[in-house]
Every structure is written in C-alpha cells, then in structure tokens.
C-alpha cells in the first residue's frame, strides 16, 4: 500500500460542500475496500485563502484513487 496525495483547487466551495465531498470520499473508499479494491481515506487539509484542498489516501493501486 502506498500513500497518495490528491490535490484539488475548489474555488467558491462552501463548508457544507466540502463536508459532503469528504463524506463521499470516506464512503467510496469503504465501498471499494469491501469490493476488494483496497483504499483508505486518511485525512484532508483545506486552505481557504487558496481554495486548495489536499486529501491523503492509502491504496494498493493509484487508479483506485483517481477513480
């Protein structure tokens, strides 16, 4: 398993949308893992001044993180 950083620019995102995106990342990771595609959501950091969001995932295959 390797750690991957997913880097996104999210101009204008609200805190509610950010929370929903994080929830979706967690749920999707859990579903993929239950299907045998191992991936674990670790954490996210959001920099409001730059509208910049960085999410860490641990996965066996980078394609799973990109999906």
């Amino acid at each position: 398993m390797s750690v991957y950083l997913v880097d996104r620019t999210l101009p204008g995102i609200t805190m509610e949308q950010l929370a929903a995106a994080q929830k979706a990342a967690i749920e999707t990771s859990e579903r993929f893992s239950s299907e045998g595609k191992q991936v674990r959501y670790i954490r996210s950091t959001y920099v409001p001044a730059e509208a910049h969001c960085m999410c860490l995932f641990e996965a066996a295959d980078p394609q799973v993180v990109k999906v």
Binding site: S2, V3, V6, D7, R8, L18, F32, E35, L56
Partner: protein, 201 residues
C-alpha cells in the same frame, strides 16, 4: 434492499455465478435478436462469449480491475440478470446487460444500471451498442439518459470491440452506438472536480 419484497439485490459477480449468467445469456440472445440478427452471428456470440469458462475468466478479470464491473442482480438468491462494463479496448463501454426473460419490466435492468452509475466517477462517459431494431432496448436506454452517438453495423462492431468472429457471408444488422455521461462533480454537487494525484510513499 429487501429480497422478500421482490426488489433485486445487485452485487459484484463471482466466478461461481458463471453458469447462471450463461443460462440467461444463452436464452436471452436468441429471444431478443431472433429475426434481427443473422442466426450464424448469434450462434458465434453465444458460443464464444457465454461459455461458463469464458464468463468465469471475464468475471475474474473484472474483479481484479478497478475500472471494470461485472454485476449480477439476484432475487431470492438466484441470479436473474447481469451487466458487464469494461474499459479495456478502445474505451469505457457497457458490453452486455440481460435479464431473465420471465422477469422483464420489473426494474431489474434499471437496478443494474443504477449500481453501475453510482460506481462511476462524475464526468465519466461511456458507450454501448444496441441493435436498432431492438426498440424496447433503445427506449430503455433513452429513458436512462443515453443519446445516439453513431450508426454502425452490429456484427462488425461486435467483431471489432469484443473479438467475436463469424462465418463469412453473415448478414449485416443496423445498430446504434449510444452514449451516457455522468454529470461532472461540479454539475452534480457544486464541487469542481479538478484533481491531480501524486504518490508520496
């Protein structure tokens, strides 16, 4: 979902499902395409794509490939439909979706498509080929948001995209390539979906 209420349960296919899938495919293809497609073409497709061995291999490959999905729908723990989506070859494509003939128009195909679409990333676009004379199927896809992308010959398309080979002299069958596009993340949730991925360790 509650199986006792008649709602299908959709899950990833396992190699052990191959015989049930083969039985549905071997019955569904001649029933669906009789009179529309040259019998020699149908015979070739069934023989080459619906043997238990071919299905077991396809299911195993889909289970180990992140962007391939072989799904089955179950009722009372019996396989009653299946769907095969794959990104191998020229791009993302729904290669097959068939339902037990005694259980048509009960939402099983819609349940299979809904599960596939839930799994696809926002912005994903994929195609399928449908025989133009198969009006119920064309209408089903239209209801689910597919649009016509191109007009092709069905047997030639199957040969080029799925590697099926036919006897010489088989008859053409007009077909449609239809496309579905899942709305992008920003369209669906208001969150732009511009991401880069880097490996850290």
């Amino acid at each position: 979902m509650d199986q006792s209420a008649g709602s299908p349960v959709v899950r990833d296919a396992e190699p052990a499902d191959a015989s049930g899938i083969a039985a549905i495919g071997r019955e569904a293809l001649p029933r669906t395409f009789g009179g529309m497609v040259d019998p020699a073409v149908l015979h070739s497709i069934v023989d080459q794509s619906y043997s238990v061995e071919a299905l077991e291999a396809c299911i195993a490959r889909c289970r180990s490939t992140p962007d391939a999905h072989f799904l089955v729908a179950e009722l009372d723990r019996r396989v009653v439909g299946f769907l095969h989506y794959d990104c191998a070859g020229e791009g993302p494509e729904l290669h097959r979706i068939y339902i037990d003939s005694s259980l048509l128009r009960r939402g099983i195909g819609s349940a299979l498509l809904a599960e596939l679409h839930a799994r696809l990333a926002h912005g994903t676009s994929y195609i399928l080929m449908v025989i133009a004379a198969n009006v119920p199927a064309v209408n089903f896809y239209r209801r689910h948001g597919f649009v016509v992308d191109a007009h092709v010959d069905g047997p030639t398309y199957m040969s080029e995209h799925m590697g099926v080979t036919y006897p010489q002299g088989t008859q053409p069958a007009p077909a449609l390539v239809m496309r579905f596009t899942k709305p992008s993340g920003s369209e669906a949730t208001g969150v732009p979906n511009l991401a880069t991925t880097r490996r850290l360790s």
